[in-house]
Symmetry: C2
Subunit: 238 residues, 2 copies
């Protein structure tokens, strides 16, 4: 008789430093206590995260492999071997929930093909929590990841999001690399119609969390520095 296969756990990480005691669930702590094999985006931060939970986990007995955007689909096969042998694997990404806009999705896709059970655990997601707090209805929304870097392409992308938002009655969620946030904000305020609403959600769960929804016109009158601060942008045109 063959051994039962392991499970693939999608383990949320914190969004902001020193928030683990507030936002991490008992279930996540239990899974981390019992899991010995991990796929992580960054070894150092994953180890630091597990240590921060103070679960008495001996990191010398934990096996971690890197799963990042450079990992080839072929190599995933090898990374997933412990599951076939009956060990559980946990995926931990740099921040928030793995599997969304992140390399964890490759491992999940592989698991479905091999008949391995995938178990998502509840945890903080900046994108999702920004949407909750935006006041946009959430009946229809779309996540677009990162906008183009080129100024002209970015401006066209913003206009397309705005037009589509009005047509589809849809909130449009997007992000930027934190050191380019101020540039994106400038481009948004230049491009959007004055009455289009923009929710800016910065450093969610952090001590300086700020989530505000205002019209593009209102934002123009507010000084705001988002440089290097993790931020989610959501626009809706009415």
């Amino acid at each position: 008789m063959s051994k039962p296969k392991g499970k693939l756990f999608l383990i949320p990480n914190v969004l902001a430093d020193n928030t683990q005691d507030a936002v991490i669930t008992p279930q996540v702590k239990e899974v981390i206590t019992n899991t010995k094999v991990y796929l992580v985006e960054n070894l150092r931060t994953a180890r630091r995260y597990i240590s921060s939970l103070k679960l008495g986990v001996n990191l010398d007995h934990v096996h971690m492999e890197i799963l990042d955007k450079g990992t080839s689909p072929e190599f995933i096969n090898r990374l997933m071997q412990p599951l076939i042998n009956g060990a559980d694997i946990g995926i931990i990404s740099e921040a928030g929930c793995p599997g969304i806009a992140d390399p964890g999705a490759l491992a999940v896709e592989h698991a479905h093909k091999k008949g391995i059970q995938v178990v998502p655990l509840s945890g903080p997601s900046s994108m999702f929590m920004a949407l909750m707090a935006s006041g946009f209805s959430g009946q229809s929304f779309a996540f677009h990841g990162y906008l183009p870097i080129d100024k002209k392409d970015k401006s066209s992308a913003i206009k397309k999001l705005e037009t589509e938002s009005l047509r589809e009655k849809r909130a449009q969620i997007f992000m930027e690399t934190p050191f380019r946030n101020n540039q994106l904000l400038e481009d948004l305020l230049k491009t959007l119609a004055p009455q289009t609403k923009l929710c800016i959600a910065k450093n969610i769960t952090g001590s300086d969390e700020m989530i505000l929804t205002k019209t593009a016109q209102e934002w123009k009158e507010l000084p705001l520095d988002l440089h290097k601060i993790p931020t989610v942008f959501i626009l809706q045109s009415f």
Copy 2:
């Protein structure tokens, strides 16, 4: 000097019975311990949820008002008055996170207009956890709420989701009233191209949780009963 305004907390509920000890964070428990005014979708289930957390909250000292899809925007103004007077308000919906595809969004919108701080708390979301576990990349996805009930309109909507998924490289998330799940599944399998992938996520966090991603062709060969079981559907065409 005027009193500082209260905060509007968006408080997650469980998705499945008897999971509160696993999925509810310490922060949510702390906020519920300290909050005395709530807007809820259903008084009975909100009271039952708070009691289930065993925080020693005396429900006789808690004030709850109903906020549901029948609540007029004008009445929201009155419901939100305690915030102006300095009291915090918590919003609790029937299941999962308030503010997404749910009446809580009306209160959040109002709060932004009145300059009241909105604080989303991390918790389980069936839509988001299904997406995490689907294996679809999550680089681009859209939530469409409920599809039309009329058979012909529903079939057109499914085709449109599939075409748009291919064109925009987008995962498409949607739901159905649980007692119509089997009908939706039948319509999906009739309408989708055989190679289109469909993730079916049923009773997330429950003891019979099932999250599987297969092609429409593969699903046709699997007997599956989703009747009255909370289910999230995600399709992606490649």
